[in-house]
Symmetry: C2
Subunit: 470 residues, 2 copies
Amino acid sequence: MKNNYLKSNNSNSGYFYKTLYFKQKVDHFGFINNDEFQQRYLVYGGFRPTQDGGPVFFYTGNEGDITWFCNNTGFMWELAKELKAMVIFGEHRYYGQSLPYGKESFKDPTKLQYLTSEQALADFAGFIDYLRSDWYPGQKVPVIVFGGSYGGMLSAWFRMKYPHSVQGALAASAPIWQFTDLVDCGAFLKTVTNTFKHHNPTCADNIRNSWMTINKVANNSHATLEKSYETGRKTIGDTFKLCKPLQSIEDVGTLKAWLQETWVDLAMVDYPYPSNFLEPLPAWPIKGVCSYLSKPLTTDVSLLQSVYQAVNMYYNYTGKASCLDINQEATQDLGTMGWDYQACTEMVMPTCSNGKDDMFEPVEWNFDAYSKQCQKQWSVTPRPMWPIIQYGGKNITTASNIIFSNGLLDPWSSGGVTESLSASLPAIIIPDGAHHLDLRSTNVNDPKDVTQAREKEKDIITQWIKDFYN
Amino acid sequence: MKNNYLKSNNSNSGYFYKTLYFKQKVDHFGFINNDEFQQRYLVYGGFRPTQDGGPVFFYTGNEGDITWFCNNTGFMWELAKELKAMVIFGEHRYYGQSLPYGKESFKDPTKLQYLTSEQALADFAGFIDYLRSDWYPGQKVPVIVFGGSYGGMLSAWFRMKYPHSVQGALAASAPIWQFTDLVDCGAFLKTVTNTFKHHNPTCADNIRNSWMTINKVANNSHATLEKSYETGRKTIGDTFKLCKPLQSIEDVGTLKAWLQETWVDLAMVDYPYPSNFLEPLPAWPIKGVCSYLSKPLTTDVSLLQSVYQAVNMYYNYTGKASCLDINQEATQDLGTMGWDYQACTEMVMPTCSNGKDDMFEPVEWNFDAYSKQCQKQWSVTPRPMWPIIQYGGKNITTASNIIFSNGLLDPWSSGGVTESLSASLPAIIIPDGAHHLDLRSTNVNDPKDVTQAREKEKDIITQWIKDFYN
């Protein structure tokens, strides 16, 4: 290693790293398009006592700006310090700064076609090959990959497909089975519901009742609450202090989708201490949200106002927002354009609800409608079975050295590996954990189970490194 | 199984099978090109006592017409009969009848770009997934892949990359390490030389001397042999009874390349009984060829005439040819266009010679010149390191259930796995074996070592099937 990473500080969250760019082929799987692009990597070598050998911790970046994942994966930094590892975060192509065709990347289907998980894994393989041969020629360098969520799926798949490249993978909250026919399409929203029930069963009941109330009020052409309004939609818009009025019944659909996403996000970030992963939030945010919905709310007025207070806590914890925007994404750091495309090609994750096992409006999974929407939006037809053919579905016991960790509060745990598949494919369960809580920095308010999970992960990773040198 | 394969006979070599076609995506790794093509499969189910379950033997087709491989892989048929397995031969895309764009497949670089090993493996994975879900829904079906040469590389890689799809692979004469920096570029032609030396050391010496003699005679503008000729090139052309005269010094280069290929091919097909793999030949053809070159030949005349007699035996064993054609391929069954393209993209297998350890003219490996030729011919630049990044090079011990068999007479053994890498990655050596002799039908003249190799292979495959059901 020639660079002194200790002297660089490009981080705004206390982590020090150097930003590097590595030239990648846009198309690893064909030989006609020889275009190249610069892929971003964040690298820190300061934990290494010497310049030679030693483990490398590599984060397989997911659908967003890599600095965001870097700043929300404190455990990897802590463990790297302890095990004297080089730290690298690799940005996923088509996200953050790693855009193969710059601003044009999303404009043209022919430019977008290289956004696939296979190409992303090949990027990481190419970089790690370069790292071994150019940074550490002739040395034995164990590489451990880390990832959360889709990044965890990539970590697991990377160890499956390129086991020669890495010694093991920590796949945190990685829903590798959230594909067609592998898990029930209702499991995801059922888990969201359970997380709300876990805090307060009445809260979930109120949310379940809210959909019908919204529908009822929205369909009224005259006032239904105390004051006199022109239409029910105005009532709802005013109650929710929406930035834009609900002008049509489609807008009411948007509101409901936004509310559903809010409840889902809350289950994902139900962390035991104040955090700012998707939004700035207090500790155990569902507890806070549910404080408004903890008692049976029998009138339309009280129910809608309480739902408003609940979501206002989520979107406006800082008190700075004067209105709520139902078209706003939860965070600017996630590349929603890219993920929309991936969800329309490989990453088809069926979801449905029945309003009984879950607190949502009953909606069946309709692949044909989904596919039509993808055709319209991206001119692509999803191939829902392809990831199963490519990555093996539930038949993955020939793989080794992958830790699957899941927090049970996290909706994505419904598509994750929650039982050990073999001695070298252990599942670690964190009952009080939300979305990849274990990857976050140690916190005084951490529940005991996440501390234990991290200890286990450390022991296993330490053993992988030992095995590699033997 | 609905079809009765016993009633079908589409074979011209005693094997009965049904020819099926399976619709494949031309591009598995992108979502813009949704073109499809019909991939050919040869299927025989007559060894199964019932219509349910049971093992499937699947040949991962290589660079040629699949019927040719089918007719030269008798061991798979014999073993299938014994183990009551379904037999399937899958044709490789861009060969035989499996042309994604019909006759246009090779005309346009954009149509040819889907000819890669990754796409071929994805074809096989898609078909096996279909086979399991549509032919045997709900049943446990172990699939064993077989392949020889490049087909053996595909078998090995298939088990590495899609271990959920198959229980094990017999990779016969598969030079998976014949890539840049993995083996010495001189090893291949050294092995050819050793195979000739094995029969007769003087034979190899005569061949080594022949290059300089050809050069010397070709560069003479006047007669050098008894009779008077216009030029040395005419002398050579007449001696070799060439169909077309050697009009330029480039033609002399073509002659030498053709001679070198002949010696290489002879080492590949040095089978212990009369065969017709590349050309109709007697048993141990090198013995026959070397009978003309078994004594020191000190005059130009005698050396050239003896070399002619030797190659004439190879190309004209049936005595039907009135002249020798140095532009003729050894067999029409191999898709040389396709393989040329693959060799110019992924399958870069460096070869060199020094004239000391081998019997060839000294030629260094020159990647730049090779690459330029590829640019000129196919408008592609080879990526010689890509197969190592993709398939792991020598670092493949995380894989399991792959038999690597190699005959030591076979030049390709120089790039093969000739020592067991682990208990589940056994190497089987056949000292008296040429190119995937073990895959051929049992023959009364089989050397003992190939019989033993087949016994071992049977035992291991039987165990894989047992393990699968347990």
